[in-house]
Subunit: 239 residues, 2 copies
DNA sequence: CCCTGAAAGTTAACGGTGTTAGCAAATCTC
DNA sequence: GAGATTTGCTAACACCGTTAACTTTCAGGG
C-alpha cells in the first residue's frame, strides 16, 4: 500500500523526480535564452543546479534527449499561449480568434527568438526529427490549435476552394485529415489550410530569423498585411 | 623582382595559399553536407586534409572565422546560381527572369538544405552576425540579384504602390535605396520589393525547414502558386 | 651559392564537451 | 532492520577549440 505522504500524482519519490526533470529543463532554457543554443550543455546545466553532468543521465538518456524534451516543453508552452489568445475572443467569431492566435504566434516568437529557433529552424540545422520521435506529438498539439480554428472558420465562413488540386497531394492530406476531430474536411479545404500555414510560418520566420533587418526596423505593418491576406483566404475578412 | 614562375594572380606562394584556403572550405562544406553542421570541426577538416588542427590557424583565425568564410562562399555560389538562372531568359522580359531566379532559389535550397540552413537559419541559431561583419557583403551580393531584377520589373511593368506606407519605415528603406545602383526607387516601390522578398523567403524556408512535411510530399504546386502571387504583386503576371 | 627570414606545419598542453563504468550514499519497500 | 532501488559521485575516454613553442620548408637577396 502506498505511503500516507503520497499525492494524487503517484508517490512522493515520483514527485520529486518530476520536479528534478522540470528544473533541468528550466535551467537548460535559461541557458538557451541567456547564452545561446551552444551553451545548453549537460555540464553547464549540472553546474547551475549544483551537481555533476553524469548525474543528469538519471533523468535524460543523452544530451539529445534532453534537448528533445525541452523542445516538447516549448511546443506545449507555445500551444498554451495560442489557446489562451484564442479565448480572448468569443467562439462565435473564429475569424477574430484566428487573428488573435496568429498575432500571438508572432508575439511569442519575437519575445522568445531563441526558443522559436529551436522549434522552427531545427530539422536542417542539426539532428533529424524522426517521424515517430517525441517531438512529433507536441508539434501536433501546437499545430492543432491553428488547424481546429481553421475548421471552425470553414464551418462559419466561406472558403473558396482552389479549382486545381494537385492529385499527388491527396494521399498526404488524407493523413492530416485523420488528425482532425469532428467531421471530415474536404481535401480542397485542407489545401487552403496548409497554404495559410505556410504563409503564416513564412511571415513569422522571415522576421524572427532576421531577414528583414536589412530593410525594416518594425515589420509589424507587413505582418498585419499578410495576416489580412490569410484571413481573406479563409473567408474571414476584416470584419 | 618577382620570379619567372609567377602568374598574373601574384606570386606562386600566394597561389598555393589561395588553393589551401579553398580546400579548407571545400572540405568543411563536404563535412557539412555529409554529417551536418556539428561535424564541421577544425580537427575533422584537418584530419580529412592530412594535417593537424593548429595548422589551420595559419589560414583562419578561429573556427568562427572559418564558418564565416564558408558562409560568404556559399552566398556567392547562390548568387552566381541565381545570376545564371536569370540569363536563361532575355533581359527584355524581367518578369520571366525573376520567375526563373525564384525557382532557382528554391531549387538550390532543396538541393543544398544544409547550406541553406547555414545561410538562412543562422542569426538566431547561434552567433550573431554583426552589422559590419564579413557575412554582410556577401548577403548583399545575393540579395542584389533579386532587388535589381525587381527594379527592372518596376521600369517595365506596372507596380501598384500601397496607399498606406508606415512612416516609421522611411528611414530604413532609404538606406536600402542607397545600395541600389541607377536611379532612385520610390519608397513605396521598395516596400513592395521587401514584402515580395519576405513572401519568397517564407515560401522556401517553410519547405526546406520541413514544416510542410506533416502534410505534403511535394509542395511545388504551392510554391508555384506563391510565385504567381509574387509576380502579380510586381506587375508581372503570368504572361 | 649560401644565408636569412618568413611561412607552414608539427607536437604538447589547457580547459571545455558528451558519455560510460564503477562506486557510495540515501531512500523506499517489506 | 534487511534488501533493493534510486540517486549522485569520481575517474576516465575521446573529441572539441585554442595557444605556445618548436621544426621544417623554401623563396629571395647578398
Amino acid at each position: 500500500m502506498p505511503s500516507a505522504s503520497e499525492t494524487a500524482a503517484g508517490g512522493r519519490r515520483h514527485r520529486v523526480r518530476e520536479e528534478a526533470l522540470a528544473e533541468i529543463l528550466r535551467t537548460g532554457r535559461r541557458l538557451l535564452v541567456d547564452e545561446g543554443p551552444s551553451a545548453v550543455t549537460l555540464r553547464a546545466i549540472a553546474r547551475e543546479m549544483g551537481m555533476t553532468a553524469p548525474g543528469l543521465y538519471r533523468y535524460y538518456a543523452s544530451h539529445r534527449d534532453l534537448i528533445q524534451a525541452l523542445t516538447s516543453h516549448l511546443y506545449d508552452e507555445l500551444a498554451a499561449a495560442l489557446a489562451e489568445a484564442r479565448e480572448r475572443r468569443p467562439a462565435e467569431e473564429p475569424g477574430r480568434q484566428l487573428r488573435e492566435v496568429c498575432r500571438e504566434l508572432r508575439r511569442w516568437a519575437l519575445a522568445h527568438p531563441r526558443e522559436f529557433g529551436l522549434l522552427f529552424a531545427k530539422p536542417v540545422t542539426d539532428a533529424d526529427t524522426a517521424p515517430g520521435s517525441a517531438a512529433h506529438d507536441p508539434s501536433w498539439r501546437f499545430g492543432t490549435v491553428l488547424l481546429d480554428l481553421m475548421v471552425q472558420l470553414w464551418h462559419h465562413g466561406s472558403i473558396e476552394p482552389p479549382n486545381d488540386l494537385d492529385p499527388s497531394w491527396i494521399v498526404q492530406l488524407e493523413e492530416v485529415r485523420e488528425h482532425l476531430a469532428g467531421e471530415p474536411v474536404p481535401l480542397e479545404i485542407l489545401y487552403v489550410f496548409v497554404s495559410c500555414w505556410a504563409r503564416l510560418y513564412g511571415a513569422v520566420a522571415v522576421e524572427v530569423f532576421g531577414h528583414l533587418d536589412f530593410a525594416l526596423t518594425d515589420p509589424e505593418p507587413l505582418f498585419e498585411h499578410t495576416l489580412h491576406d490569410i484571413l481573406t483566404a479563409l473567408g474571414a475578412s476584416d470584419r
